[in-house]
């Protein structure tokens, strides 16, 4: 006797497993899996380190903070506040070098917060990105430039464009905590004036990335405790509007980076005077 088929309800785990497979393995269209050649642009990425580097570059090469001491100009060094330096600075109120000498003048900065900004744009879904920045090249190996192709372009054929896609970035607001250490208020004034002038402009290496940076206030403090060195410091925050396109597998698998648009032949109406 033939076995009767009855519906068997799925467990919650089986349903979840099915959904997971559906996300991981959509139907494959081999035509969309474009090969990347050495001539093609590399995947575009901007990371947090790029943004940190932009701040460092701008301090070092554009603001160039300096102070005068003993009638000579001293360039103010910039340090990123690695956890060891930062905790040392917080514990003592200032930083010492390996000879135990007080490090002044000095600017130290550290990224303290990253806040996501959703009001600019959104890729919609990290599993399958939907919004892209698009770059097209009209002439490519499929449509090599020639006098004939130019002539052909005047006809009713629309060539296939090579399109390089880059997912829209995640826009973020980063907060950096900065501390200026100097010996005298006069020196602090000079450094603060330079940094304040740079506020609200785009910081970074012109050949790489630039980000809008804003500074709202510069609270000052002078430390002169018994048995310690005198140090003048100012602690302020930089609010930087940045964007991130990560170098991550999840990003690379969520869309095809190179695509070709289909070539088209355009038809128009044709009429005949007699049948």
């Amino acid at each position: 006797m033939a076995q009767k088929r009855v519906p068997v309800p799925k467990s919650q785990a089986e349903i979840s497993a099915g959904l997971r497979d559906q996300v991981a393995a959509p139907a494959l269209n081999r035509g969309t899996k474009t090969a990347v050649s050495p001539q093609d642009p590399k995947a575009f990425t901007v990371g947090l380190e790029d943004i940190d580097t932009a701040i460092m570059y701008y301090f070092d090469n554009v603001i160039r903070p300096s102070v005068f001491q003993n009638n000579s100009e001293i360039k103010v060094p910039i340090l990123y506040g690695s956890p060891e330096r930062w905790s040392s600075m917080q514990r003592q109120g200032f930083l010492r070098d390996h000879n135990d000498k007080l490090m002044t003048p000095l600017i130290m900065f550290k990224r303290t917060n990253m806040e996501k900004l959703r009001n600019l744009t959104n890729k919609l879904d990290a599993n399958q990105a939907n919004n892209f920045i698009v770059a097209k090249s009209k002439y490519n190996p499929r449509n090599a430039y020639s006098n004939f192709s130019v002539l052909n372009g005047l006809t009713n054929r629309t060539d296939s464009d090579k399109i390089v896609l880059s997912v829209v970035p995640d826009y973020v607001r980063l907060t950096y905590s900065c501390i200026i250490f100097v010996d005298y208020i006069e020196q602090l004034n000079r450094v603060q004036e330079a940094i304040n002038y740079a506020s609200d402009s785009y910081w970074g290496d012109p050949s790489r990335f630039k980000f809008n940076a804003r500074i709202d206030s510069f609270p000052n403090s002078t430390t002169l405790d018994t048995g310690t060195d005198r140090v003048v410091r100012s602690e302020f925050n930089i609010s930087l509007f940045g964007y991130i396109i990560p170098d991550a597998i999840i990003k690379d698998l969520s869309y095809d980076r190179l695509v070709y648009s289909p070539a088209r032949v355009n038809f128009t109406y044709e009429t005949t005077g007699s049948l």
């Binding site: 494959l28 081999r30 969309t32 899996k33 090969a35 597998i249």
Partner: protein, 363 residues
């Protein structure tokens, strides 16, 4: 990996109803027997021809295989299959006669005659395929009135049979043909054709399309040469015997240049090690995989198998340090991610483990 992939130098499709038309730059290769508005009542036969350079083949066999026994497979990835019969077979011959790829595409108006076509080897009206008299080892296959379609070496044919529900990718063993190319240095490439009983049939419509050398996709034709480079010489560590085992890779640089060769080293250990009173963690004891262990490489995005488990060509080696295998990155597509799986037999069970190793090939 004792699997090395060579990419084709040139290819084209020969169309019997367009005896002068060149299709050297087409992105698609076609095999089939079609009827349609453009062919009238006359069946049209389509045959792709593909060539891999002698230098590439000789380089692999001289410098990598180095005298070991090898296998060679011609792989074509299907783009579209239309009206295929339940069962059919595809034959692969060595071509006899040099040919020029040309710059044409199917349907070019005016017709492009700059290269090989059904009737001609070099260009239209230059070097016909069919000679006045065949040399003893050469033959051809065509219907009367459609002379052409390549001339090929007799008695050196490979066949792949397809059954209902088989994948339509061509993976055809061409070891004998590659051996012949290597020993004689006579290399005009391969021609693929349907079995004779399916060609020039007015009662059937049958078309298979494959990605060509000029494809924009990651699926160009490849010649895959495999050989056994494994050695199994273990050091002081034991061979794992527990079917509940964990396999990990000792180091992963994550990104590998496409011109590099990478040795992947593996560690394995029981998933639940026996408790022992020792001064170090039992989880740190490393074991070798058994001798009959193999690896597989898959594309992480498409989940397609790029290098499959093979009892000969993907055997995992062992030396005094650990189990290992080598991968030639030049056979993998750049800017893509790959994943490795491990297969072994323990306690009567064939076990396949996800190696938990993902890597990317860079330009």
């Amino acid at each position: 990996m004792a699997v090395y992939k060579i990419f084709a130098e040139k290819d084209a499709t020969l169309y019997s109803n367009y005896p002068n038309e060149n299709t050297g730059l087409d992105e698609i290769l076609e095999i089939g027997n079609t009827l349609g508005p453009d062919t009238g009542d006359t069946p049209q036969v389509m045959r792709p021809i593909i060539k891999f350079t002698t230098a590439d083949i000789a380089d692999v066999l001289d410098n990598k295989v180095a005298g070991a026994a090898f296998t060679a497979s011609l792989k074509l990835y299907v783009a579209d299959a239309d009206s295929i019969p339940l069962d059919y077979s595809i034959e692969c011959y060595l071509l006899s006669g040099s040919w020029n790829m040309g710059t044409g595409k199917f349907g070019d108006v005016p017709e492009n005659n700059t290269g090989v076509s059904w009737q001609w080897r070099s260009s239209a009206e230059v070097d016909p395929w069919i000679p006045v008299a065949y040399s003893p080892s050469v033959t051809a296959s065509y219907a009367s009135g459609y002379e052409g379609g390549g001339t090929f070496i007799k008695n050196n044919v490979s066949t792949q049979s397809f059954a209902h529900s088989d994948y339509q990718d061509i993976i055809i063993d061409v070891t004998n043909q590659v051996r012949s190319i290597y020993s004689s240095s006579l290399n005009d490439g391969f021609v693929l054709k349907l079995q004779d009983s399916l060609e020039f049939q007015s009662s059937s419509y049958f078309a298979l399309k494959y990605f060509s050398v000029d494809t924009h996709t990651i699926y160009p034709p490849v010649l895959e040469i495999g050989w056994n480079d494994s050695v199994f010489s273990t050091g002081s560590n034991a061979i794992i015997s527990d079917p509940n085992f964990v396999v990990t890779f000792t180091s992963n640089q994550y990104e590998y240049n496409r011109n590099s060769t990478q040795r992947f080293r593996l560690n394995s250990r029981p998933q639940y090690p026996a408790r022992a009173f020792t001064t170090s963690s039992v989880y740190l004891n490393s074991f070798y995989l058994p001798e009959n262990s193999y690896y597989q490489i898959r594309d992480l995005d498409t989940n397609e198998i790029i290098v499959d488990f093979d009892n000969n060509n993907t055997k995992i080696s062992a030396d005094s340090t650990s189990s290992y295998f080598d991968v030639y990155m030049s056979g993998l597509q750049p800017e893509r991610y790959y994943k490795i799986f491990i297969k072994t037999t323990l306690d009567g069970s064939t076990i396949i483990r996800d190696g938990e190793l993902t890597f990317k090939v860079t330009q």
